[in-house]
């Protein structure tokens, strides 16, 4: 395999005709061999970023794209040595499976024997042996995306780019292909950028994740960092479910008064609200609880169930409970929220805000 390269974006922005700035000036470094996932809701600029890396779009004047040490800003996509997988497969319907996969190799004018060899290799890698002569429209969605994957890796690109490759597939197939893509990326060791709006995909595939919001990177970090130390409320909310408890006041011993009880959280003094994940909240006997409330709804999810607990605040708390126990609506429930699972995405800023409120 060709040695992988790093990708560097320097001050890349993108303004579309009409003046809409889809991407604010962006600095981004993807390390050689790393898989970076661009994650965010639609319209956040993730696809634009990918297209700028690919060369399908150019950054505004002043932006710079580097592959390794090489400035590729002025190069069109066909000269950048990238492999790309699209959401809608973009397979050539006028060619067979084998011709699709070999297309890039024929463009490179490789000897026929070498083309046959590589074709064999990649078709084995994506588990498509024996499909070479098939017509594209005789394939299922999952098979089509395997062909697209094979076509992209056959040319041994320096960089692999994925534009929501699994979004058009059904859930079960998506999970399977996600695992296969993950194995393939590790096997190849090629630098990869993967765009998705699916957080599970991002967590499973990304060495690092860039969560994007309104044309900016809201947070860049490992999946663990993004999940457990979200940089702001948007990230906390976008990745997984999160509870936000309003802080009503402070007890003499430093406990934070919230609807339904009080929390001990020495590390979060001065915040106006605290956050915690549903799975971090424990169900305990009411007598030993930090917070008390009533179950208002239980949603059965199979392996677990999600309970909505009204503690008197504006929105009920979401908690995760074992799936076999029944929680009829109206049942009194006690919750424990250990200090180490409570967080605030922007503690410093929040503290300032709280002070301002106190002063005002």
């Amino acid at each position: 395999m060709s040695s992988s390269v790093s990708i560097t974006l320097n001050q890349c922005s993108r303004t579309f005709t009409g003046g809409n700035m889809a991407l604010k000036p962006l600095d981004l470094q993807v390390n050689a061999g790393e898989t970076l996932v661009l994650l965010g809701p639609s319209g956040c600029g993730k696809t634009t970023t990918l297209r700028i890396i690919s060369g399908l779009e150019s950054p505004d004047i002043g932006g710079q794209v580097l592959f390794g040490e090489r400035d590729v800003t002025a190069l069109p996509i066909e000269k950048r040595d990238v492999g790309m997988v699209f959401q809608n497969y973009a397979l050539f319907p006028n060619m067979s499976v084998a011709d699709n996969i070999a297309y890039g190799l024929k463009i490179q004018r490789l000897p026929r024997a070498e083309i046959a060899q590589r074709l064999d290799d990649v078709m084995r890698m994506v588990d498509l042996q024996g499909f070479g002569e098939r017509r594209i429209d005789a394939l299922s969605g999952g098979q089509k995306q395997r062909v697209a994957l094979a076509r992209a890796i056959a040319v041994r690109p320096k960089v692999l780019l994925f534009d929501e490759p699994l979004a058009a597939l059904d859930a079960k197939l998506r999970d399977r292909l996600r695992i296969e893509i993950g194995q393939l990326l590790r096997e190849l060791g090629t630098t990869a950028v993967y765009v998705t709006h699916d957080q599970d995909e991002a967590m499973a595939l990304g060495d690092r994740i860039a969560v994007m919001q309104a044309g900016r990177i809201a947070q860049l970090g490992t999946p663990q960092e993004i999940y457990h130390q979200p940089a702001n409320a948007f990230v906390a909310d976008f990745i997984g479910a999160v509870n936000c408890l309003e802080v009503l006041g402070t007890q003499p011993d430093g406990g934070l008064v919230v609807h339904g009880g009080a929390l001990a959280a020495a590390h979060l003094q001065g915040v106006s609200s605290v956050y915690c994940r549903p799975e971090d909240i424990q169900v305990v006997p009411v007598g030993q609880a930090d917070v008390r409330g009533k179950v208002v709804q239980s949603i059965f999810l199979g392996q677990t169930q999600r309970l909505l607990v009204d503690t008197g605040g504006t929105t009920p708390l979401q908690i995760e409970a074992p799936s076999r126990q029944r929680w009829p609506n109206g049942t009194a429930i006690g919750l424990r929220l250990p200090a180490q699972v409570l967080f605030h995405p922007e503690p410093a800023k929040a503290a300032v805000n709280a002070k301002e409120v106190a002063n005002g």
Partner: protein, 262 residues
């Protein structure tokens, strides 16, 4: 019993309509094959008139075929890139140009021909050659090629396919010939059959533009109706039908092919 009666009546009506349309054609064909139309079939069948038409007018038939093929070549060379350009360009422009392209279809052929004569009639060499007629035919048939190709291009998701080809290292021309052209082949085929059929049958423009040395089949046909025996005109029609009917069948077939691809 009642439904059976209704079916018979429907069948009868359908056959009657078919007869109404088919009989004139059949009569015309028969007229070209009988010894003497006024005596009728009793005078016997003959290929004499067909033979005579061939001797008198074979050059018009060859010219029509030559014109149709040249017209086809040019409409493909201009029409496919034009359709591609319209596909890729911004909407406002594209719509205006598409409407302009349709103008020669909407304007009477005689007017188009008159405009051509006014503009280029003074170039004697050009005026007297078959190329002058070719220009008229291209003007008239080009929109049919562009529209057929464009409609297939619009459903073929070409921009995405091109991006994929580009990511694999294909240059613009490699993409154009390996991805764009093969994926709108059914449109080109449909357009081509349309262009050839229209060119072979075109009368209005051609009649204005022709010289005694550049008569096409339809012009010759009008000529023979006016100045020859009825049997010769009919035999001439027969030859025309033999050329055009297979093309019409092929157009139907190509149309079905296009629908399947979608």
């Amino acid at each position: 019993m009642k439904s059976r009666l209704r079916f018979m009546m429907q069948l009868g009506f359908t056959l009657l309509v078919c007869l109404f349309m088919v009989v004139p054609i059949a009569m015309s064909v028969m007229a070209g094959l009988t010894e003497n139309y006024f005596i009728g079939l009793k005078s016997g069948l003959t290929l004499r008139w067909v033979h005579e038409v061939w001797q008198l007018y074979s050059d018009t038939i060859w010219l029509s075929i030559k014109l149709a093929l040249a017209c086809l070549l040019i409409t493909i060379l201009i029409g496919v890139p034009a359709a591609y350009g319209l596909l890729r360009s911004r909407r406002r422009w594209a719509n205006a140009i598409e409407e302009l392209l349709l103008l020669p279809v909407a304007v009477p052929g005689l007017a188009t021909a008159l405009a051509l004569l006014l503009a280029y009639g003074s170039y004697r060499e050009f005026r007297g050659s078959w190329l002058f007629i070719l220009v008229g035919h291209v003007l008239f048939t080009l929109p049919f090629m562009v529209r057929a190709v464009l409609s297939v291009m619009q459903t073929a998701k070409l921009p995405q396919l091109e991006e994929a080809a580009a990511s694999l290292g294909a240059s613009f021309w490699q993409r154009f010939f390996a991805v764009v052209v093969p994926n709108c082949m059914s449109g080109i085929l449909a357009g081509a059959l349309m262009v050839v059929t229209l060119s072979i049958g075109e009368f209005n423009i051609t009649w204005m533009l022709h010289t005694p040395l550049t008569k096409t089949l339809p012009v010759g046909l009008a000529d023979s109706y006016a100045s020859m025996r009825l049997e010769i005109g009919s035999a001439y029609t027969l030859i025309f039908l033999l050329m055009v009917v297979p093309l019409l069948v092929a157009i139907q077939w190509a149309g079905r092919l296009t629908e399947q691809r979608r």
